[in-house]
Amino acid sequence: MYNMTLPWWGWAMMLVGLAAFIGMLIISIRRNHGVKRSLFASPYILWMILFTVVPVILIAYYAFTDANGVFTLNNFRNFWDSNYESNKVIMEAMGELGAAYISRGTVNVDTLVYSLWMAFKCTVICLLLGYPAALFMADRNMKLGSTLVVLFIIPMWMNFLLRTIAWMSLLEDNGLINNFLRWLGFEGVQLMYNSEAVLLGMIYNFLPFMVFPIYTVINKMDYRLSEAAADLGCNSWKTLYKVVMPLSVPGVISGITMVFMPSVTTFFIPRMLGGGNTMMFGDLIESKFLVEGNWNVGSALSLIMMVLILISLSILRKADPNGEGGGIA
């Protein structure tokens, strides 16, 4: 394994992290149900420690060290300026004159901004498509409602890689759509290997995560509230706008969270449908680990991603303080 010889402070960090986790655990046991009941949680807690707490600490450790395990902030400098290392060499060799030959490598920041922008577009489109769908499915007078729910769930039973590859066979130059167009006598069109195809793949994969939280909230809403609105003079549009929409905010927030988070960290979809022309932050992190073998920079990027997600979660949490959407936010 890559550089598993931790220095003493690496181990110390690990111990402090574990101690803090176990401490919080003990406090929660004291406050809530006593030891007996929390005993049932021990397998889960063990799992958490092994596969969540320890990896997070390891990522933090790698992010703040160089290849030799010495403390450094260079990984984060590398995020801001991917040419950081080479620029430093140039400046050291050429002194003042070197300034003309260096430039900031913006690939990491650009990729992050691009990912955020793509995730934003994906979330907005999912919301615009998903909200009416959820409304439709939760309609009491719609006998097809539950059938629709099942139809929405079935694609989710398939692996997400498979679903993405299925899109490829549709969009390819020799795919179903292009073949159909040619059969009709049209020219084939370039559908794949651009950011629209990536966006399409993302929307297709993440739409259910928008629909279901909203559907759940609307479905368990007291239908008498809509009747009360109608009784007080609202037509269907006003009922939607004045009653249903305000009350479905928790579901919307949950949906936004559940679409935005995986969207930002999307990988694989850009590689398959974008054909390497577009790269998202998830692919960047993956390539740092698996292609460049640079665990330190990869960890730093992951850490930045985690912090961004935490910030956006805490913002969303403000809008749904009771967690009524049943989501992660």
């Binding site: 007291d222 008498r224 509230l225 009747e227 009360a228 609105a229 109608a230 009784d231 007080l232 003079g233 609202c234 037509n235 006003k238 004045k242 009653v243 305000p246 009350l247």
Partner: protein, 355 residues
Amino acid sequence: MIEQEHLIDLKNISKDFDGTTVLKNINLYVRKKEFVTLLGPSGCGKTTTLRIIGGFEYPSEGTVYFEGKDITNLPPYKRRVNTVFQKYALFPHLNVRDNIAFGLKIAKVPRDEINKRVDRMLDLVNLSGYGKRKVDQLSGGQQQRIAIARALVNEPEVLLLDEPLGALDLKLRKEMQLELKSMQQRLGITFIYVTHDQEEALTMSDTVVVMRDGHILQIGDPKRIYDEPANAFVADFIGESNIMRGIMVRDELVHFSGYDFPCVDSGFGEGVPVDVVVRPEDIMLVGEDIGQISGVVKSVLFKGVHYEMMIDVGETTLKVHSTVMQPQGSRVGINIVPYNIHIMKPMVKEASANV
């Protein structure tokens, strides 16, 4: 065709839900400023009738008239009717004031006017000062009054109330019954009220409509419904009663419990089987030898105002309410005054089997 004084007219209303008939050919009219109660056990169709008037359900057959105009297919928001829902259905995302103002804001009433009317309503339901509270911070009784205020502030022609007191405890119920009744009289609004509580119906209504299995069994003022029940079911449902099979010996003489009782009913024919209803408070307990019939006290229950005694008279057991207790096991005589014996035609088929 439609009489002018009728505010609402239901003509030949039937309603099916997925092949199940819940209303069968209902005919009913409601006059202006009347307090009408739809009374019946659960599943009798009373709530469906109310929802048809409110516009939340459309009848499968028949016509709904409002002031003589056909409103059968008019959506709820176009009807001059407001509803107090069973579980209030207050908007949880709005505070008390905004809940009450909801209808006025939709109707685009000017802001000053809205404030004035909402304040007046808060006063009326004794909740001034609660305007800024969240709805879920209120007790059941307070939520109830908000629901009433939210409906009344729109000054509807008709207020529909769907078991509005169902969730309240007994004492609060009684208070709200009186409050609702006085509110109705003060404001001069027509109330259509749904309940399964016969006492509530008798206390508040001008007219009681007794329903069962999608049929209307009897329409009348509370006293008439109580004193002259149309059949054994109504008698049983409205108040407590002894219901017995009897034979009409001739006019003004009926045979039941092994004795020919003089009564005031006539016109049934001779030797015809009938249902006989006697209210428990109408049975007089007298000395063993001077009663029309006699029996043994089987059990005694103290009910507060009166004692409830079950008296075995051989053929049947009679329920008797009396303020004077007769000890268990003692023999008593029983007298029933002729006009307290109610005679009715036996109910048809399944109906009579259940009572």
